[in-house]
Structures are given as structure tokens and as C-alpha cells.
């Protein structure tokens, strides 16, 4: 009996031994949540998803801290370190909001070297694999076109903040040696334009409906236009700001034919125009009101005839907390929103009067009624004291049933205490509602914001426009001015002005240059242009001056105790700013220089 049991149970134990020992192959486990290299590079659909990811490398402008807040367009009201940027305090040890790991600011973090090269590697991996991938040539051609375009864009982003960077086109393996020197600025521009050309050759003129949002021939040519315009600009042809710097070739052209550069820039813009694929949205409005609506609508639609390259969103898009939610970020605190990128007095004052003259606080009529008769684009872009905006949230609505922006203070006589009370507007920094989100400047952003959506709870989905046709027209005009083709330039500038229901400009010479620059500032406000424009025009010293705002106050007559029905405006200094020429370019981080001894730091750092 015992024996039988012992034998029986011994068998059981040996079965266990067998199962545990004879199964070395069971250790060959494959991941359940990842794709193998082999499965990706034979499957056209997976390759497409790989390409899709590279699009993420082009930073979009709708992060909580917008690029506008790094120049003279706006002020980020919670600071979050932006004041270190606007005081030019960035150093190789402290890249602050440009650090790839900074806790916020997706837009600027992504301009960092680290993110740029991560996506560039993805493009390089693609090129190393695509030729041998068993997929249709037509498909291959399309994908290659997209990736050439994306790689061009990624390098453009790096070059526009660092100057010349190492051009890396190989997909490194662990065995490679990694130390590489920076390429010259000229090399980089040549490389980027050739990538644009390759892309333009491979890409279709338009994408099918389902693929809208992917790169097109037009996008590639438009990018080339931007790149060549930048390259022809003052900054890249005059390194005197960095006198004494041993390697001017890293940050600018050294010698060569600048006229040819302008010509190339002009040709590149013209090539886009000549495609005939794009046109201004509503180019000839019937009234100022139409113009205001048209300009606002460009940014509130999913697509217009102006769109060349854009990034779409859905409500499910979920990055970190400053990923995509322009309505929540930018509407006033009196709407339970964050009032993030508040327009500066400098930008607001730059909007012309509707007759094309300059606005001026020293003009008593204008100062008394500053928001009367301004450029229609002003009303489509800026929220100011007394501006009609959307219905307030239910709990705030009783305080303001009409939804009118209140950035003012009211002086009111208090009969009970026999003294004057100062009542703060709902959207001020003394508002009863989340006043720490209130504006310092007295303004809020209206451009891009969908007024139909209660942004405290819901997201809008309007796309970010990386490149739109207006920019190309302005690029073309800028090159023409430089080539002394002023009439041609004015024709194109005035196309933009006509659409805005603004009178034509007629100046020439330096006055024309100034009007052009001003036009670009207004038309492209908050579209991630200004940061680069003030640098390439070498006017950053004028852009990084103290931030200005306005304080509207409905004053009380001390004798009658009657509160005025119109406010008195006081221009106020809201934030200290400072310019240091080294901030024309970003520094390469100290850590990266420690890793790669062939790198040469940018000037003045």
C-alpha cells in the first residue's frame, strides 16, 4: 500500500520536474505590446504609422505658453519662468523653458536639440529601411516625400534657434562613434532646401480628403520659401553682433552673394504662388465688419483655401497639461479660464487706425477711445475692456449676463460707509473669480479662440496652421523689397491689407520696409513668427523692452459721486524685460558639449 502510493506520488513530483526542466524554449517570450522590427518594415500600414509619429516632431503653437510670450506679442501671466526668457537670462547651464525636460512649455521644449534629433533619427531610420521594404513604389514615393519634408522641417527648427547644427542623416547604431562637429550655417541651408526639393518632387500637389494634414508639394515649397527668406535676412548675413566670435560660419553666411539669396527667397515664394493651389480666404471683403469676421474665421475653420500645412486635433488629444486647449488657456479668469498669453500694450498699440494711420496714446481723441476705428484684425484678435465676448459660465453669468469683457475698475460711491469703493472687473487680477489668472496687460487673446465653446469644460478642435498662404505672400513681398522691386512688393502686401479692409500702403525705401514689417507683425500675430522675425531683422533690442499694458478705470466725480460711463485709460509698465544679444541664438547645453567635444558654443555664452 505504502509502496504504491509512494510510487504514485513520486511520479507526480517527476511530472513537475519535467514541466519545470524540459521547457527552455518557454523562455522565448515575445512582447505582447510592441512590434518587432521585421513586422514593421514589411507592412505599408505600419510604416505609415511610423511616419505619422514624425509629424509630432514639428511643434505646434497651441501649448499653454505660446511663442508669443517669448517676444513682444504677449506676456504669460503666471510667469512659469517666461520672465527669465524675456530678460534674456538663458544660459548653457540653464536652458529654462527651452530645456527638453522643463516641467512645462511644450512649444519651446520641443525646439530643443534633444527632441529635434530624436525625430530626425526617426526620419533617418525610415530612410535606412524603406528602400528594402516590400511595399508598392507609389506608396514608397509618398512616404519618402513626407519624410524628406519632415526632416527638412526638423532641421529648419533647429537651425532657426541654434544656427548651424550637425547634419546627421544616418541611423546610428551602438557601435558608431558619436562625436560630430556642427555644420556651417550655409551647409545646413543647402541641406534643408535640398530636402524640400526632394519632397516637392515626390509629394502630390494635394492630398486626398482622408489624408488631409499630410505634407504636400505645396508644403515642401512653402517651407523652402520660409527657409530661404530667413537665410537671406540681415541676421544671417551679418555676424557683427557677435564680433570676435571665431566661427561666424556656424551662425551665418560668410561672404557670398546676398542678392542671389534674396532672389532664391523670392523664387521660392513665387514657386508656391505659381502652384495656383492656394488663395487668400475671402480676399475682398465688403466692409470692415466682413473683414473682421473673415480674418477671425480663418482660424476657426477646419480648412480654408489659405492652408498649406497644418496640424489637426480632436478632443481626445491628450498630451500633458499644456498640450492642447487654447480656449481654456487663453480666455479670461472671469470665464473660469487661465488668461495665459495676454497681449501686450505694444502689440495692441501696433494695430493701425482703420484709415491706416498709427494709433497714438498722445492723441487725446484716440486715448479717450482707444478701441474705436482700429484695424478690423484688432477686433478679431484682441479682447479688451468693454469688448463683447461669449456668454459667461452659469455661476458668473449673474454678475455679467451679457458677456462683456471687464478688465477695468469702477469707482463707486458707497452711501452706507460714505466712502468710495473700487469695484474690480470680473476679468481683472482683483476679480472674485480666480484672480491669479487675471491679466496684467488689460487684454486677452481672441484670435484662435472658438466662442461657441465653454472652454472650462470642453475643448475646441481648430487646427494649428504651421504655414498659410498669407505668409508666402509676405515672404514674397519681403524678398521683392530687398531686391528693390517695390511695386511688386506693395501689390502683394496690399493683397493682405485689402483682405483686412485696410487702405493700401504707398511708401517706399526704409518706410516701406517698416510698413512691411509692421504688416507681418499684425497679420501673423501669435502665429510663431515674431520670435524669429525680430531676430532675423536684428531688431530684438527693440522687442525686448519692458512689457506695457493698460488700466481702464471708470472714475467717480468726487463732488457728484457719479461714476463715469466711459473709462479713463492709464498706460502701465507691467513687466521688466531686457535684451542680451547672445539670446539671438539659443546656447547648446553644457551637458551636450560635455558629451561631444567637437561642438562649438554659440557666441557670447
Amino acid at each position: 500500500m505504502y509502496m504504491k502510493r509512494i510510487i504514485y506520488f513520486t511520479v507526480v513530483v517527476f511530472v513537475i520536474v519535467q514541466t519545470t526542466s524540459c521547457s527552455k524554449n518557454s523562455l522565448n517570450v515575445s512582447p505582447t505590446d510592441q512590434f518587432s522590427d521585421a513586422s514593421v518594415w514589411k507592412d505599408a500600414s505600419l510604416i505609415q504609422t511610423f511616419v505619422n509619429n514624425i509629424y509630432d516632431g514639428i511643434p505646434m503653437g497651441f501649448s499653454n505658453i505660446m511663442m508669443a510670450s517669448y517676444s513682444d506679442e504677449s506676456m504669460y501671466n503666471a510667469d512659469f519662468g517666461t520672465s527669465n526668457v524675456t530678460k534674456s537670462l538663458i544660459t548653457p547651464s540653464d536652458l529654462s523653458l527651452f530645456d527638453s525636460k522643463y516641467w512645462t512649455s511644450n512649444r519651446t521644449r520641443q525646439m530643443n536639440w534633444e527632441w529635434g534629433y530624436k525625430f530626425i533619427r526617426a526620419a533617418n531610420v525610415f530612410f535606412s529601411k524603406i528602400e528594402s521594404a516590400p511595399v508598392d513604389d507609389a506608396v514608397k514615393k509618398e512616404y519618402k516625400g513626407e519624410v524628406h519634408f519632415l526632416r527638412a522641417f526638423l532641421y529648419h527648427n533647429l537651425v532657426s534657434v541654434y544656427g548651424g547644427v550637425p547634419i546627421i542623416t544616418k541611423a546610428y547604431t551602438l557601435e558608431d562613434s558619436f562625436a560630430v562637429p556642427r555644420n556651417t550655417y550655409a551647409d545646413c541651408i543647402d541641406f534643408i532646401t535640398s530636402e524640400c526639393d526632394s519632397a516637392a518632387l515626390l509629394l502630390p500637389l494635394t492630398q486626398s480628403t482622408a489624408d488631409l494634414g499630410r505634407a504636400t508639394k505645396g508644403a515642401a515649397l512653402a517651407l523652402k520659401s520660409r527657409v530661404l527668406l530667413y537665410a537671406a535676412s540681415d541676421f544671417y548675413n551679418d555676424a557683427s553682433w557677435a564680433s570676435g566670435y571665431g566661427h561666424p560660419e556656424l551662425i551665418s553666411y560668410v561672404g557670398g552673394d546676398r542678392v542671389a539669396r534674396w532672389q532664391a527667397a523670392k523664387d521660392a515664394a513665387k514657386a508656391v504662388i505659381d502652384l495656383g493651389a492656394y488663395s487668400l480666404y475671402q480676399p475682398s471683403p465688403a466692409s470692415a465688419a466682413d473683414a473682421q469676421k473673415n480674418y477671425g474665421d480663418i482660424f476657426l475653420q477646419t480648412g480654408t483655401s489659405e492652408d498649406i500645412f497644418l496640424k489637426y486635433f480632436t478632443i481626445k488629444f491628450n498630451w500633458n497639461w499644456d498640450g492642447y486647449n487654447p480656449g481654456l488657456y487663453n480666455q479670461p479668469n472671469g470665464y473660469h479660464c487661465w488668461g495665459s498669453n495676454t497681449p501686450l500694450g505694444q502689440l495692441v498699440d501696433a494695430y493701425e487706425m482703420s484709415d491706416g494711420t498709427k494709433f497714438d496714446w498722445t492723441n487725446p481723441t484716440q486715448a479717450a477711445n482707444p478701441y474705436l476705428n482700429r484695424d478690423p484684425r484688432f477686433y478679431a484678435s484682441i479682447l479688451y475692456e468693454g469688448a463683447q465676448w461669449r456668454q459667461r459660465p452659469a455661476d458668473i453669468s449673474p454678475s455679467d449676463p451679457q458677456g462683456i469683457i471687464q478688465t477695468a475698475f469702477w469707482e463707486k460711491w458707497n452711501g452706507t460707509t460714505s466712502s468710495m469703493d473700487v469695484i474690480a472687473g470680473l476679468d481683472t487680477r482683483k476679480s472674485p473669480f480666480e484672480n491669479w489668472n487675471g491679466t496684467y496687460s488689460g487684454y486677452y487673446l481672441k484670435k484662435f479662440i472658438d466662442p461657441t465653446i465653454d472652454a472650462q469644460n470642453f475643448k475646441q478642435t481648430q487646427p494649428w496652421r504651421h504655414i498659410r498662404y498669407s505668409e508666402i505672400l509676405l515672404n514674397y513681398a519681403e524678398a521683392c523689397i530687398a531686391l528693390n522691386q517695390e511695386a511688386e512688393a506693395k501689390t502683394y502686401i496690399n493683397m493682405i491689407r485689402t483682405r483686412a479692409y485696410m487702405p493700401d500702403i504707398t511708401e517706399s525705401g526704409q518706410a516701406l520696409v517698416d510698413r512691411y514689417r509692421h504688416e507681418r507683425q499684425i497679420e501673423m500675430a501669435y502665429e510663431d513668427q515674431r520670435f524669429f522675425d525680430v531676430r532675423r531683422w536684428l531688431i530684438a533690442d527693440k522687442a525686448y523692452t519692458d512689457a506695457m499694458g493698460v488700466e481702464p478705470r471708470y472714475k467717480m466725480d468726487p463732488t457728484t459721486h457719479i461714476t463715469a460711463t466711459t473709462p479713463t485709460y492709464t498706460v502701465i509698465d507691467i513687466q521688466e524685460r531686457a535684451w542680451n544679444p547672445r539670446f539671438y541664438l539659443l546656447p547648446i547645453s553644457l551637458d551636450e558639449i560635455n558629451r561631444n567635444n567637437k561642438l562649438i558654443q554659440n557666441p557670447l555664452y
Binding site: 505504502y2 519545470t20 509619429n53 521688466e576 551637458d591
Partner: protein
């Protein structure tokens, strides 16, 4: 302590019954001596019956004998009982005893305080002489659980520490991982959070050994990977930690030490029911003191002053904040007080039943625990019902089976905003805003609707996480009768877990006053605002995980001749884990009244799911040799295979050797050294592997998601960033997860240990000391410090790192008694210091910034440079001081002076200096005192640590309040000779955004970790109730803390930002009953 107490109690109980019996025995003896005539027998019998009714019904047999102590001297008053019956007596003044035993069968139990109980089977003998050993001496015979078996403490050759379940029970903490620090030399712990359900300690055995994963392997009843935290402390028999080469038998994952938990099993005897219940409260150990409203308003004005903008608050405002004359417009709120109640309840109850006979034994236990959160109307609480059933059966003389089943429900309940959000808001709460309005309605929003007094309740919906764990184990042991000493064991453990998480997020309401509107009664008009979400939304998640462990062991034990004992163990083990999960989401619920998926809107509904699998296969063995239990040797090995590594590098061989010499067994010692009773020297060397690294390093793989995801973060971070086309079509994105490292293989731990154990003064004093020298090589680390970012590479882990870790441990304990007063004092301490010998480092880095040669940073993988600090050497008194010394660009009076460490006249990144200390203390010690006097007992554990630092970083400024410790001595234009800088605004000032030593604080502490005072009701008072034992007690945890340099937060907590749930102080009163 309570161990002693029970013994004593048994003694008392026996005394009661045996005093009468003893007299009877004496009488019987006399009668036998003098009245042997038959006529007297009935009389005697009646007498006996009357006096000692217990014994008389059966035909009994008298057993006599002599009890001696360890020195061979007769011992009086030793209790002698018949196991499982009430028959009892005690030895007389000559050490003699006599007891009547029915049928002459059973087992006699001899007990005496300070001596180990001894059981002797009667086996038809009539004379039984015994010798009792003191408990200390007995300890040497004690069996210690080691890898895949047990061994006698006397012959142990490894560095092993043991704590008994009873000692763990002295702590009222429900999470066992919090009860170990200070108890076990070599064990270091920090606690990230005190939140019910997530209050586990991070345990490090002998400190930090690798830049990678430092977690110890937890093995419960032979099965790895089970929970240390959630096991019921009442069911723990003992916890053993293997610290040196003795862990090598666990190979993979054992490199950081092994924690072995053994649960209780039934013992032969009548059924015993034990009830242990306690009820008490918990509260935060330390809460920071924040600046009050007038101080905060003043500081806001300072920010405005420094920015050149107008002051926000008038003097009148500040006066009103101070005097409280305007509670509506000028409140002065203490957010901690407003959100946290003074104390929250917690209780734990456990009932166990154990017993058995020759063929079956059982231990069955059920328990329930509850911990309430610290918030008023807390949405946070934790419940845990659990059970365990350990059964043993002897099928035959040669075959025995064990079957264990344990289950529990970890029922975690939280508000929909996490503790991080809640405490972040409590810390940030501005003292000049109301938490509640004076009429009792909740105050206004802070951000995202996060008013902590509301989001800490169930007003925001709920987040219920119910995790069901079921652990089972079937063990079969066969003694092979043909070969003496040979047995084989098969073991199959199946652990299964089910997790249901239901996140029901509903809108909530906050109230705002515009500061000007009053109603007809002149009361302020509050406006009710909906916050959080416009409509309810529901996420339901279901996860399942499974682990199957199969092992088979062959044991052989034999003693050759008299002196050569040999033990051999060979085994193989297979471990497989897998799991799946999915979740579903709906939003736009029309009403919050039905919280089920079907009731949600169909717009935006979503779902997701994934799975994982892992496999490990190992062969292992151990050989023990002992010569006369004097010379000891052990060899262990493990041949380990893990799915983590590529096929060519999959298996690793890890051997270990340890030697012991019981010097006190030598004659020269025995004859010459009398003061030291036992002395053993031991030494070990071993290697273990570590495969705890991210999976698939050897594969080139691609994953859905984006580069912005961070799967290696803790917890992993995943975003949803689809590539959208045509305005609304979401397309997947695929990214290269890393470049592969086809050579990834085992991280290797080489461990050397030398130590001694001794008992002195007739075993009253025991001393143990260990010195260790560990070397971890082939550490899997990334070369991201030297590989330029321009490569764009997402680097794999490579076997490049090398770390040394050295230290020592000691335990000294003394135990004695004076009359009825028993005491035991024990001191232990452990010191460990690690040093990076090699890892990847940027080549251009100056010496004082290099981490090589210094301690492993607190967060070596993600933030190795967090240990680089600017050296704060004071505060610029005025502008002249700024101008005089190199300074950060933009520095002004009142800012912190950063030392120009490299003397180049510029303050930049090169002036950061690496700090060698981390948040893991270098030295941890414990002092435990156990006292017992008659029915009273007291146990105390003092615990302390030194050598750790923490970095203070609160979110302060316009965004939130300041620590009062900062505010009170800050620089202002009127107070320029300050040690604390001027008021900062969030991270805008360089001395906040740049890590510097101003914020770095020592966390050295000493605390009353646990205490317990108990009283046992004299058995006399209860013996009629059928209850053997009643004890009432009060116990405390983290009762008192002294940490001179770290006062704002708990020194054991891992973070200094005040955003995590604070650690808990617990006080409970309890009752234990044994039937």
C-alpha cells in the same frame, strides 16, 4: 514580549490547577508509602476524586521523574502538563514530579519561565527525567527558515536576521512593510506616502547596491512575488531576511536580498481559538506650519515690490487679515486644519483557529482591517477582509501533503482627485482665501476646481479599486523509504489577482463671492459654480494577473559515522507570470444617479487594453556539511534563466560558499573560556544575478505612442497624441522604443560577508556582528551621459555599471529576570555606504561633479544630476554685496549667494558640486526594550537613522503659501541680515529653480517607532469562562519624533514638496483572547 507573557500565563494557569494536584500527588505518595492495604484504596480513591477530579475517570498510570536545568541542577516548580488535557503538576523543591496519565499515553510538556518548553512523548515509560535548556541556549537549536528549507540557528553560516510574528504584531500599523525598520539589522526603509492602501515602505536590504532596481525579493511560504505589505500580521510565524550569499539560492532577483515570510501552521493539540482585535486612530506625524494670511499678504506685496508693480494689499487689508474682523472679505485660513480632521479611525480584527492531530493539522484565520483617511468626510479609506487556511496532512508514514489557500480583498477607496492633488492644494492653499465661507458653504476655486476641502470628499464621485488576491500552494513531500534521509518535494503555487477599478467622476460645486453683492438681509451673496466636469463620466478598468510557480526539490540528509553530517538539496523551478487588462470609458451622463456604463452617452466613448507575459526557469542546489556541528560549510548554486535576456545570454550560473566555525565547541575554549557560552565565526562569498530591468532590451521593437510617452517613469506616462488627418480621423503613431542591445545579460552581485555570533553570561547576553563588502558589476545602465543627444538614440540598457557597497551590522541583546520581573534589551544598528566605481559619465565633466567614486544618486536613472547642487553660502545683504561677488545673472539683494566653486568669477553650471548623500540613510538603528512584570508587559522600539538628506521644494508664491519656517526669517528691505532669501515666486527666482544646498536638509531622526503596554487578566479571574487568556493592550506607532534639522515634514517620508499624503502616527487599544 508577548511570547514571554503567554508562557508566564500558562504557568499561572497551571499553578492554579496544579497546586491542588500537587498536594494530592504528595498525599497519594504518602498513602502509597504508608497505607498500602487494599481496604484503604476506596477511601483514597474518593479523596483523589474529590480533590483532583480531572484525572480520575480513566485508568491512569503514574509517571514520575526529575527535572534538571542546563547545568544539571534539579529545578523546582517546573510545570508539567499532559498535552491536550488538564492533567498537570509541578516539580517539588527537589525537582521531582509525579503525574497521573490516563492510559499512559500522550505527551508531557515541561515549562518554566526563561527556559524553553520541552515536550516528551510518554511512550509507555513510567520514569521520565528531563533537562531544560534556557531559551537563549535553545535559540541555537531554533530552526531558521532559509532558502527552500530550514536550518538550525547553531549551524547557520550566512548573514540572516529573523523577526518573529509576535514582534511584528507589536506595531499597530496595518501595513507589514512599515513594521520592520529597526527590528531587523540590515534593513533600511523610507516611506513615500501614508495614504491608506498605498502606505508601503520602500525597503532596502543593506542599503543601495545598484543604479538599477534595488528591490528585495519577497518570498511568502516559498512562493516569490507575493505581497509583503498586505499579509495579515496575525498570520505571520516569522520573517527572515537573507542578506549575503545565502540568498544566492534564489538567484535571479535575489541580488538585493530576500525577505522570507513564513505563515503559521497548525500544531498538534486541541483546537485553539485566538481573537486579536484593536481599535484606534491615526493622524499625520508631521504637518508643516504654513504662513498665515497677514504674513502671506505681506509677502505678496514684496513680490509686487520686487517686480516693480503696485502692492496688492493695503495696510488695512493686512490688519484685517490679522485681527479677523472681516471673516468674509479677509479670512485667515489654516488649510491643513480645514481639510484634515484631528484623528481618523482604524481597526483590525483577526480570529484564528489552529490545532490538529497526528495526521492532520490546520491553521485557519480570518481578518478584517479598516483605515480611514485623514480628511473630513473622507472619500479615502481602505478595507481589507482576508483569510488564510494552511492545512497539513500525513497520508502515510512517508507521504505528507500541505495545502495553503489565502485570499484577500484590497478595497481601496479614493476621491476622484488623487492624494497628490489634494495635498498639493492643501499646501498651496492661500491663507487669505476661505476654505469655507463663514456660513459653512465651501469656498472658491484654487485651480481645476481643486478646493481641497471638497475634492477630498466623495463630492467629486469616487475612485474604487477592488483588488482580489488569491494565493494557493500545494506541497507534496515524499520520504523515500529505500534510501535513508532521501525525500522529494513537489510544490505548485498558483497566485491569481483580479482588479476592478471604477472611476466615477461627477461635477461638484464651489461658491464664490464677488466681494460686493449683499442680499436683502445684508448677507453676502454667494454664487454656486459647477466645477470639474460638465457631466459625469465613468472609466471602468479590469485587470487580471496570474503567477504560476512549479518547483521540485530532492533532499538528502545523512550523518556518516558520528560526526559528519551532510545535507544536499537539488531543485528546479519554473515561474510564469501573465496578465491582461482592459478598460472602458463613457461620458456625457445625463444624470449622476446611475453610475453604470450603459447610461453614458455614446459620443466619445473609448476603450483600451493590453497584456504581458514573463517566464523564468531555474535549477539550484545546496550542500551543507558539518563536522560535529563545529566546522560548518555550505555551498549553494543557482543556474538561472530569464526571458529578459537574449537566448545566448539567457542563463547565468550563480554560486555561493559559506563557512562557519563554532569556536566555543572546541575543547581549548570550553576549558578556558567560561564567560562566553557560544562563539561562532562565519564567512561567506557568493554571486547572485539580477534581471530586474526593463523588458526587451535585446529586441528592436516599435510601440504605439510617441517619444513623449515615458514607459520607464514610475508610474509610466502615456499620452494620446494621435496623428489627425482630415480634421477628425485619429491615426496611430509608431515609434522606435530603443535600439537593441543584443548582449544584454545578468547584472552580477558579488557578496562577501564575515561575522560572528556569541552568547555570554550564561546565554543572557548575545552579540552578533557582520561586516559586508559587496560589489555589483555588469549593472545595466544607459550611456546617456556620454552619448550625445544629436544621435537621437533611445539607448538600451548595457552591462556597464559597477558599484561597491560596504558596511556592517550588529545586534546586542541582554535578557534576564529579577524575581517576577523579566526584561530584555536589544540594540541593533546597520551602516551601509555605496560608491559608484564605474558608470556612464560625460567625459567633459569636472571632478567635483562626477558621480563616479560617490554614492548612487537618489534617482540614478532619470535624474542622476539631481545631486548636483549650487553651494548656498548666504544671502546677499544688499546690492553692494551682489556687486562684490560673482553672481547669477540678474541676482539682486536678498538672493542666495551661490559659491563660485571653480573660482572662475562666473556662476554657471560648472559651479554645481555633487553631494554625496541621498534620501536613503547610511546608518539605521533600533533599540528595543521588553519588560514584563506579572500580568503587565511593555515593549518599546526606538528607531533612528542618520546620513540622509531631503530637498525641500514647496510650490509657493502667487500660486500658494510658504512654509512659516521660510517666511519667518526671510530677507526683506527692512531685514537685510537674514539667513533666508527674499520672498520668491514659484520657480521664477534662480535660487528656487536651480537646485542648491539652501533647500537641502539633513533628515537625521530618532523616533519612538512602536510601543505596546499590555495587561493580562489573572487566569484565576477567568478560568471558569473557558477562556485561557485575556490580554488588553495599548499600542502606538510613530508616536514621537525628534529630527532637529527637518521639522516641516516627516524625516522618513521620501519627498520634500508636501504633495504626498503624510505619514501616520497610530494609537490603538486592543484585546486578545485565547480559548
Amino acid at each position: 514580549m508577548s511570547f514571554l507573557f503567554i508562557n508566564n500565563n500558562q504557568k499561572l494557569r497551571m499553578k492554579k490547577s496544579s497546586t491542588t494536584c500537587r498536594r494530592m500527588e504528595w498525599l497519594k505518595h504518602q498513602l502509597r508509602q504508608h497505607f498500602t492495604k487494599k481496604m484503604l484504596q476506596p477511601f483514597i480513591m474518593i479523596l483523589l476524586l474529590h480533590a483532583c477530579f480531572v484525572n480520575v475517570f480513566a485508568q491512569s498510570k503514574t509517571i514520575t521523574g526529575m527535572v534538571r536545568n542546563d547545568k544539571g541542577e534539579p529545578m523546582p516548580a517546573v510545570s508539567v502538563t499532559l498535552k491536550g488535557s488538564r492533567a498537570a503538576t509541578s516539580a517539588n523543591s527537589d525537582g521531582r514530579f509525579s503525574i497521573d496519565v490516563p492510559n499512559g499515553k500522550g505527551t508531557l510538556v515541561f515549562t518554566y519561565v526563561g527556559f524553553a518548553a520541552k515536550e516528551i512523548s510518554i511512550n509507555n515509560k513510567t520514569v521520565i527525567d528531563v533537562q531544560l535548556e534556557t531559551e537563549e541556549a535553545r535559540k541555537l537549536d531554533e530552526v531558521v527558515v532559509v532558502g527552500y528549507g530550514t536550518t538550525k540557528k547553531a549551524t547557520l553560516t550566512g548573514a540572516v536576521s529573523v523577526v518573529k510574528g509576535k514582534e511584528v504584531l507589536q506595531s499597530p500599523a496595518t501595513n507589514v512593510s512599515n513594521s520592520l525598520v529597526g527590528r531587523l539589522p540590515g534593513l533600511v526603509a523610507t516611506q513615500p506616502s501614508g495614504e491608506p492602501g498605498y502606505d508601503g515602505s520602500t525597503i532596502r536590504i543593506r542599503g543601495v547596491n545598484t543604479t538599477g532596481n534595488n528591490d528585495a525579493l519577497v518570498v511568502v511560504d516559498g512562493i516569490p512575488g507575493r505581497s509583503l505589505e498586505r499579509i495579515d500580521p496575525n498570520s505571520i510565524e516569522s520573517i527572515t531576511i537573507l542578506k549575503d550569499a545565502s540568498a544566492a539560492i534564489y538567484g535571479a532577483q535575489a541580488a538585493n536580498g530576500v525577505i522570507l515570510i513564513t505563515t503559521k501552521r497548525g500544531k498538534t493539540g486541541k483546537p485553539e481559538i485566538t481573537l486579536n482585535t484593536n481599535y484606534g486612530y491615526n493622524q499625520p506625524t508631521v504637518l508643516p506650519k504654513m504662513a498665515d494670511a497677514p504674513t502671506y499678504a505681506t509677502m505678496m506685496n514684496e513680490i509686487a515690490l520686487y517686480n516693480g508693480s503696485p502692492a496688492l494689499y493695503t495696510d488695512d487689508d493686512i490688519k484685517k487679515y490679522k485681527d479677523g474682523s472681516d471673516p468674509w472679505g479677509h479670512p485667515n485660513t489654516d488649510w491643513f486644519k480645514a481639510t484634515l480632521k484631528p484623528r481618523s479611525s482604524q481597526y483590525a480584527t483577526n480570529v484564528s483557529l489552529s490545532g490538529g492531530n497526528e495526521s492532520t493539522r490546520y491553521f485557519v484565520s480570518i481578518g478584517y482591517k479598516h483605515q480611514d483617511g485623514n480628511y473630513y468626510h473622507s472619500g479615502t479609506f481602505y478595507n481589507q477582509p482576508d483569510f488564510r487556511s494552511n492545512l497539513d496532512a500525513r497520508i502515510s508514514k512517508y507521504i505528507s501533503v500541505g495545502f495553503d489557500l489565502a485570499g484577500r480583498l484590497e478595497d481601496r477607496n479614493y476621491p476622484t482627485r488623487g492624494a497628490g492633488d489634494i495635498f498639493r492644494m492643501v499646501q498651496r492653499g492661500k491663507p487669505n482665501l476661505p476654505a469655507y465661507w463663514p456660513n459653512g458653504l465651501p469656498g472658491p476655486d484654487i485651480e481645476y476646481g481643486n478646493n481641497p476641502v471638497v475634492i477630498s470628499t466623495d463630492a467629486t464621485g469616487y475612485n474604487k479599486d477592488k483588488y482580489y488576491a488569491l494565493n494557493s500552494n500545494l506541497k507534496l513531500n515524499i520520504i523515500i523509504p529505500w534510501v535513508k534521509g532521501l525525500s522529494i518535494t513537489g510544490n505548485a503555487g498558483i497566485d491569481k489577482g483580479f482588479d476592478f477599478i471604477k472611476l466615477w467622476q461627477t461635477p461638484w460645486y464651489l461658491y464664490t463671492w464677488d466681494g460686493t453683492s449683499y442680499d436683502a438681509n445684508n448677507q453676502p451673496v454667494l454664487v454656486k459654480g459647477k466645477r470639474g466636469f460638465d457631466a459625469p463620466q465613468l472609466t471602468e478598468t479590469f485587470k487580471t494577473d496570474q503567477q504560476v510557480v512549479l518547483n521540485a526539490l530532492i533532499n538528502y540528509e545523512h550523518t556518516f559515522g558520528q560526526d559528519h553530517a551532510i545535507k544536499v538539496l537539488v531543485g528546479s523551478e519554473k515561474r510564469e507570470g501573465k496578465g491582461e487588462n482592459f478598460n472602458a470609458f463613457r461620458q456625457y451622463y445625463v444624470s449622476p444617479s446611475i453610475d453604470q456604463l450603459f447610461a453614458g452617452g455614446s459620443l466619445g466613448k473609448d476603450n483600451n487594453g493590453s497584456a504581458y507575459i514573463n517566464e523564468r526557469l531555474n535549477y539550484f542546489g545546496r550542500v551543507n556539511y558539518s563536522y560535529k556541528e563545529k566546522y560548518l560549510a555550505e555551498f549553494v548554486w543557482r543556474y538561472d534563466g530569464s526571458y529578459i535576456f537574449p537566448e545566448d545570454h539567457r542563463f547565468g550560473f550563480f554560486p555561493g560558499v559559506s563557512l562557519g566555525w563554532r569556536v566555543s565547541e572546541e575543547n581549548f575554549w570550553k576549558n578556558n573560556v567560561t564567560i562566553i557560552d557560544n562563539f561562532k565565526l562565519r564567512a561567506s562569498w557568493g554571486q547572485t544575478g539580477n534581471d530586474r530591468i526593463a523588458e526587451w532590451q535585446y529586441l528592436s521593437t516599435y510601440a504605439y505612442g510617441s517619444f513623449f510617452d515615458d514607459p520607464s517613469a514610475n508610474p509610466p506616462v502615456y499620452w494620446y497624441i494621435p496623428f489627425v488627418t482630415n480634421g477628425s480621423t485619429e491615426n496611430q503613431t509608431l515609434y522606435e522604443t530603443r535600439i537593441p542591445n543584443p548582449n544584454a545579460t545578468w547584472e552580477l552581485a558579488t557578496q562577501r560577508n564575515i561575522g560572528f555570533e556569541a552568547t555570554l553570561l550564561r546565554n543572557k547576553l548575545s552579540v552578533e556582528f557582520d561586516y559586508f563588502d559587496y560589489l555589483r558589476s555588469k549593472i545595466l545602465a544607459k550611456k546617456n551621459a556620454s552619448v550625445p543627444l544629436s544621435t537621437g538614440l533611445i539607448l538600451p540598457l548595457e552591462n556597464i555599471g559597477k558599484v561597491s557597497n560596504k558596511g556592517f551590522e550588529f545586534v546586542v541583546s541582554y535578557k534576564d529576570r529579577v524575581g517576577d520581573f523579566n526584561y530584555q534589551v536589544s540594540v541593533n544598528g546597520s551602516y551601509a555606504r555605496n560608491k559608484i566605481l564605474f558608470w556612464d559619465e560625460a567625459p567633459g565633466r569636472p571632478e567635483y561633479q562626477r558621480s563616479t567614486g560617490k554614492s548612487i544618486p537618489t534617482d540614478p536613472i532619470n535624474n542622476p544630476d539631481n545631486n548636483l547642487y549650487y553651494q548656498a553660502i548666504g544671502v546677499f545683504e544688499d546690492q553692494a554685496a551682489v556687486d562684490k561677488y560673482a553672481h547669477w545673472s540678474g541676482a539682486r539683494a536678498g538672493d542666495i549667494i551661490f559659491k563660485d566653486a571653480n573660482g572662475d568669477g562666473v556662476i554657471d553650471g560648472n559651479d554645481r558640486v555633487r553631494n554625496d548623500k541621498t534620501n536613503i540613510p547610511r546608518f539605521v538603528g533600533g533599540l528595543s526594550i521588553n519588560l514584563q512584570y506579572k500580568g503587565f508587559d511593555l515593549s518599546v522600539l526606538m528607531q533612528g537613522a542618520t546620513g540622509a538628506v531631503n530637498y525641500i521644494s514647496t510650490e509657493s508664491g502667487e500660486i500658494g503659501d510658504y512654509l512659516q519656517s521660510f517666511a519667518k526669517d526671510r530677507w526683506t528691505p527692512d531685514h537685510t541680515k537674514a539667513n533666508t532669501p527674499r520672498t520668491f515666486n514659484r520657480t521664477n527666482e534662480y535660487y528656487v529653480s536651480q537646485r542648491n544646498t539652501f533647500w537641502l536638509r539633513k533628515t537625521d531622526y530618532l523616533r519612538l517607532k512602536t510601543f505596546q503596554v499590555g495587561y493580562s487578566i489573572p487566569p484565576k479571574a477567568i478560568h471558569k469562562t473557558g477562556i485561557q487568556n485575556i490580554r488588553i493592550y495599548i499600542s502606538g506607532f510613530n508616536v514621537f519624533t525628534y529630527s532637529p534639522d527637518y521639522k516641516d515634514f516627516d524625516p522618513e517620508a521620501s519627498g520634500g514638496d508636501g504633495h504626498s499624503y503624510p505619514l501616520q502616527k497610530v494609537l490603538t487599544a486592543g484585546l486578545s483572547l485565547t480559548f
